[in-house]
């Protein structure tokens, strides 16, 4: 309700309503952009560009549509344009960064368990973070939208401008690839 009111206000030209929307979505939007581009500075820049785009295009936004999906669509388009511009190959492949992996991995360790369990959880989390980093951006994206943003299949399809079947198979392939990487990773660790 608060979001709908803020969107209506923004559509009427009240720029103050933008603060409400930014505050409401800043963590999620930034997280999504960071999953796509992986560099905090670039994610912040795209974050700003996204909100500028929101302010510019809000009058063409159809209020009957889901605002969240519309917002993430704008962010996605900007992020993919950016990725195409800086390194087109990054849309298919990715290279991991050790610091990013550690940043993702460490909080995943289960702090409530015993030392051995914590070690195992930490190892698992490190492997998972490392595997996610190696996924192509299109796979990282659907995993983030489904598991982190908890979007429905239809919402993800809206964000990606893709059919439901494509989204579904992309989620399946990304999970299978992740699983394959984790199995390989676990086997290497055991050696």
């Amino acid at each position: 309700m608060e979001i709908e009111a803020a969107v209506s206000q923004l559509r009427r030209g009240d720029l103050g309503a933008l603060s409400t929307l930014i505050a409401r979505y800043q963590n999620r939007l930034y997280r999504y952009l960071l999953r796509l581009v992986r560099q905090p500075a670039q994610a912040e820049d795209l974050f700003q560009q996204t909100w500028l785009r929101v302010a510019e295009k809000i009058r063409s936004y159809d209020p009957s549509r889901n605002f969240e999906a519309w917002l993430f669509t704008l962010a996605r388009n900007l992020a993919f344009d950016h990725l195409r511009r800086i390194r087109p190959q990054s849309l298919d492949h990715s290279v991991g960064d050790e610091s990013d992996r550690n940043a993702v991995a460490s909080p995943l360790a289960d702090s409530g368990a015993g030392p051995f369990d914590r070690l195992l959880a930490h190892e698992r989390a490190t492997l998972l973070a490392s595997a996610i980093e190696k996924l192509p951006v299109t796979y990282r994206e659907v995993l983030s939208l489904r598991f982190e943003e908890e979007m429905k299949l239809e919402e993800i399809a809206t964000v990606l401008s893709a059919p439901l079947s494509t989204v579904k198979s992309r989620i399946q392939r990304s999970l299978e690839q992740l699983r394959g990487m984790l199995d390989t990773g676990s086997a290497e660790v055991r050696k």
């Binding site: 930014i22 974050f47 909100w51 302010a55 510019e56 995943l108 489904r146 989620i171 999970l175 984790l182």
Partner: protein, 161 residues
């Protein structure tokens, strides 16, 4: 459907299952199968570890200044665009006004200068030439005024920053 067929089908469904993308019927079918198949139950546990890991990824926090920076940037850019739009409208109005002034003052100019031109014995064979010179003069005056105004406005904006 044979047991092995169902087994294979259930295994294929597991990624969708942990992603919460199966309907209630399939969910019940998978649950029933898990109760009787330890292999699939083990497989499901591995998938669930992955899905739980994905759901527990930490949320990276943007820098604390990002919120304010974004608000300020959006406000600045929108103000700049609004000003640009306003300038276009002013320019259009200026052109219309210049034409109106030119056309309205032309008869006055003719009336006022007719005697003067005859006194100096200046004759223009083409009335359009006089009109062109008059137009150029009025437009040049208007254009110079607009330019000076815009330069002054730029200075004001710079000093305000």
């Amino acid at each position: 459907m044979t047991d092995s067929d169902e087994h294979a089908e259930i295994l294929d469904q597991l990624p969708f299952f942990v992603a919460g993308l199966v309907d209630a019927d399939d969910e019940a079918r998978i649950a029933r199968h898990m109760a009787t198949c330890p292999d699939c139950a083990g497989e499901l546990e591995r998938w669930q570890l992955i899905s739980a890991g994905l759901r527990q990824l930490p949320t990276p926090q943007p820098s604390s200044a990002l919120f304010e920076r974004t608000r300020a940037m959006v406000a600045d850019r929108l103000a700049a665009k609004a000003e640009q739009r306003q300038n276009h409208i002013v320019l259009l109005l200026l052109v219309l006004f210049s034409w109106a002034v030119t056309l309205v003052t032309w008869p006055v100019f003719r009336f006022a200068t007719d005697g003067l031109l005859s006194f100096f014995d200046i004759r223009f064979h083409q009335i359009w030439l006089v009109f062109a010179i008059f137009s150029a003069f009025t437009w040049l005056t208007g254009g110079s005024a607009a330019l000076l105004l815009s330069l002054r406005r730029q200075d004001e904006r710079r000093s305000a920053l």
